[in-house]
């Protein structure tokens, strides 16, 4: 089966991860702009980060037969450095509408401060101006109230809920998110977010409509194979292939395909993989023998 991981920070992952993901059936990934583990102190590092997830990372993924898309946004945590946030907001219009950007995100709340609120709202307006979907990061702490507040603010700005993915849900938030018409994403991430046995139970209880599974794998203890592993567990626990198809592929494609940048045609017939190809004079190989072929057969599966 083919899978999409619609939330994964590949910039923090290795080429082994790309190989394993492709082997497990991941055909496309979405890399949301987020913080990088340590607060940035200059707008220039944001600029280069955005350029990396649009450029080099996309190229690197393609070398392993995976289509890579991204979202652009100022994350909530770093919104609290207001002087820096102002400069980053100036940068966003230069990146948001570029090819391969499928949404504005991850935006929302972390500590739910006034500064976070300010830049969240400005970015909702940016998404509306260019008619892009939004990926909402919900907070770790005070999660339920932060999630509801995010939706309140989105509604205050007249944002269409069918254009918004509320991410990092759990059993406590999913009902309200679905009832209010949003897409509900779940992050299978050890210790801090969801386990995949809990995920199976959620799909059994709430069905597959507007439910999306992702890994949010990054620089922490996380699993880039969370989506295919959860898919396997779903089948093992009696859910159907169609349930898996919707939650681990199609729903993500439907919502993140809304601005036209991500379409199944990008990968469905395979695309040419040439590991000798260069990106700005660099290639991903460091002494290995290059593989070439279509994206479907580059990794034995």
């Amino acid at each position: 089966m083919n899978f999409i991981d619609p939330h994964v920070h590949m910039i923090s992952r290795t080429t082994d991860d790309y190989e394993a993901m492709r082997k497990a059936g991941v055909v496309a990934v979405i890399e949301p702009a987020f913080w990088t583990g340590q607060p940035r102190t200059e707008a220039g590092t944001f600029k280069d980060y955005f350029s990396s997830i649009l450029g080099w990372e996309r190229f690197r993924a393609s070398q392993f037969g995976i289509k890579h898309y991204c979202t652009i946004g100022l994350n909530s945590k770093e919104s609290n450095n207001e002087a820096l946030a102002e400069e980053v907001m100036e940068l966003l219009p230069m990146f948001a509408a570029k090819e391969g950007v499928v949404a504005i995100g991850e935006i929302g709340y972390d500590d739910q401060t006034a500064a976070e609120d300010k830049y969240f709202r400005l970015q909702i307006e940016l998404a509306k101006e260019i008619d892009f979907p939004i990926m909402i990061h919900t907070p770790h702490r005070d999660k339920k109230r932060g999630t509801y507040r995010s939706m309140d603010v989105l509604e205050e700005h007249g944002m269409d809920p069918t254009m918004v993915v509320i991410d990092h849900n759990n059993e406590e938030t999913v009902r309200e998110v679905l009832d209010r018409g949003y897409w509900a994403a779940f992050t299978i991430y050890p210790n801090t977010k969801m386990g995949n046995e809990r995920m199976v139970e959620i799909v059994k209880e709430y069905g597959t409509d507007r439910i999306i599974v992702n890994s949010a794998a990054d620089w922490g203890v996380s699993d880039p194979l969370a989506v295919p592993k959860t898919a396997a567990l779903m089948l093992q626990r009696g859910l159907t292939e169609n349930d898996v198809h919707l939650t681990c592929y199609q729903n993500a494609l439907t919502v993140y395909g809304k601005n036209g940048e991500m379409t199944e045609a990008d990968w469905v017939d395979g695309f040419e993989v040439d590991q000798n190809a260069l990106f700005e004079g660099n290639r991903v190989l460091r002494g290995q023998a290059p593989k070439a072929g279509s994206s479907k057969n580059i990794i034995n599966n």
Partner: protein, 283 residues
Amino acid sequence: MMLKICLDILPDEEHRAWLEAKALEVSTGAKASKFYLAFSSAPRKTSKAPLTLRLAQLEQLRSLQPAFNPATWTIDELCRVTLMTCLPTETNHEVLEKLFGTADMRESVALYKGLSFLENAEAFRLRAIDGLRTNITPVFDAIALDNPYAEKYFAEQPWNQMVLKAMFMERPLYRVYGLDRRRNKTLALILRDYAHERWSAHRSVSTELWRNAVGFIDAPLLEDLQRVLNEGTGRERFAAALAIRESGLAEADTILDKAGIAPADLPEWDELGRAEEADKTLG
């Protein structure tokens, strides 16, 4: 001007309406962010299809950009360049310089292709020279090929670097606009050294190299060309003969005669270039 031409070329009513609205915003002092969003959105709001032009449209474009090669342009690129020309010239340098720093590959290509259409094109000379340092072939091509910018604004040193790098990158020199007009002694000497390096490594050199030697053939260079006439392949020999003949050397006729090449058989430089390019495309 460019807006009018572009609107006439766009086949789709919706695309025309989008471009016209954005061009109006950009030309009437909208915030830079409006321009950036429109510039990035062009592929989504118009189309990445190649241009199809009527002859009159091509002539209009060539009146603005004499080297315009429709085969290398797409609809969204033409729209992006049109938007560039709509920026007020008092601010366009600052706005575009920022965009050069954040552009993705296709945006960079459009930016470099667009420079020569700007009223204050000369203000971007250093940017264009810096652009040649890229390793991305499509970006290099956007500056070096089918573009009048370099001939018009580059001093001899960057011009020579561009031609030499084009050789290194195996780009088709016949598409470097103004190549013959910008020939110079220094370039001829640099390229002669380059040929010697290649020969020492038992590699061939592009036949187009010798086009740059016309008018600067001294005794050592003539010796090299004689060597090509004696040892080269068919096309290499033609190139050496052309260089000798066009340099108006007194002994040209004798040399060609001795080499068994009739002047009437000689191709044009552009034909040689096209033949080399076709060979590379085939593989």
